[in-house]
Symmetry: C2
Subunit: 310 residues, 2 copies
Amino acid sequence: MKVALFAGGTGGTKLAHGFAMLGNQVELSVIANVGDDVAVHGLLVCPDIDALLYTLGGLIDAERGWGVVDDTHTAHAMFARYGEPTWFTVGDADLATHIHRTWRMAEGASLTDATAAMASALGVGARILPATDERHRTMVSTDDGELAFQEYFVRLRQQPEVRGVRFASAAGSRARATPAVLAAIATSQLVVIGPSNPIVSIGPILALDGVRTALESATGVRLAVSPIIAGQALKGPADRMLASMGHEVSAAGVARLYAGLVDRFVIDEADAALAPQIAALGMEPVVLPTVMRDDSARAGLAEALLAGIA
Amino acid sequence: MKVALFAGGTGGTKLAHGFAMLGNQVELSVIANVGDDVAVHGLLVCPDIDALLYTLGGLIDAERGWGVVDDTHTAHAMFARYGEPTWFTVGDADLATHIHRTWRMAEGASLTDATAAMASALGVGARILPATDERHRTMVSTDDGELAFQEYFVRLRQQPEVRGVRFASAAGSRARATPAVLAAIATSQLVVIGPSNPIVSIGPILALDGVRTALESATGVRLAVSPIIAGQALKGPADRMLASMGHEVSAAGVARLYAGLVDRFVIDEADAALAPQIAALGMEPVVLPTVMRDDSARAGLAEALLAGIA
């Protein structure tokens, strides 16, 4: 079965891993957020793509949820000696990823091509599709002014309150989703919006030219999984961000953001009482255990999402 | 006293270190070979400049004579996973050097500017001057065809016999020495051609537009130190290369290559018998212990070269 999964950050990546663990029964395309991408030491760093590459390739530092397990940080110390900013820590193996990608792209490969080659090299069976090959960088408006995403997320450790988000593109025009992304949405029997931050992980994908239209006309079952459980994000600032941007901090608040885009909305068992609110938004509420504590919980959630899909 | 030193490879670098150890009495400009430069993983690697940076900055892996001491090789293993060629090993700290340089240059810095900033960051007091800021890559003709220098030197471990050398430049025209290099030659009281390979370390510098003329009109004392002692190179393929290119494999054979360019030619005590041959070439022979076994021998040789210079 063909599955397309919108993913960014920890939750989406874990669910991608869950689907990948189901093996040949699922032909998985992960549509990865690129709004977090950032140039570090002149190299293109794609945190969400890399988390997918490392997780699905079995290299992830599972404790941190990013980077390569047992990585060294020798280059980082040398960058410090050269007086480079060091607030964005890049391990040595991780650095090879950024160098390899940047080099391939300098030689003409698209981000999509480069990612496909790297996934293949790391033995990743799923397709990891950057949401766009164009420049599309998340900029957050805060009380401290507008910040590039990683300035907010890493350098300032998500301290400022987020009041708004926009996406900076190369030409000043709106970036387009890749043809591969639009095809994955159109041809999958199941399209899943992962349990990722709706504002800065899923939002950037939905903001791309072509994505909402593709979702609206998708023939597969469209489903979203709430990243908010009992009013809280399991990881990251999604809950605070929903609040500071004036949204309800609950699974229902997230569901409202996806109204018209999905047929089913999955809430955690802890939020079963919200089912009527979800139904009132025109979505079928599905109550499941959604906390992906370990590998078997990841695979279990993926399997549950497939239930009843032709 | 102002000293300009032509350097490439191990011998020239050790002598640079010797001059640097003399402290404030010497204002040292090292004119560094760039013919060995190579793009690795899309990054600009400058082996001779880096050996100078690391040696003068106290970071060199003294046992190997290149790279950073106690470096890790985590990125290298990751490059292998991505299917990149791995015959050119780059340590992780070393990688930071190449990234930093490549980035600065992508932002518009010349190689000279980038090198100066890096030397300063590493606490190097000497000026390290790339011989040229233009493309000037050593290509060696061998019985196996023409090879880029590092293909010959590293990948093929200097196995093929070298029959000739040429320098590939960007425009097909001859690369020019930088103004800083020409000024260092013109204004130094002592100009030293270090004990480096005359074909592939010093040769590329002498081949640059402006260098021979500058040397010919230099007002300081011009001196070369033989890299050949008792018919052998202490390290590297200089002896074999001299032979395969039809030169005499001796200090006198090297002196012949520098005829008209230097006033004094320093030979090792082991070669004292060659003094008359050197004199016959129109150079003053100087017999000294030239083997730089340890730091004090490096400083001792540098000090001896300064003897009698105003």
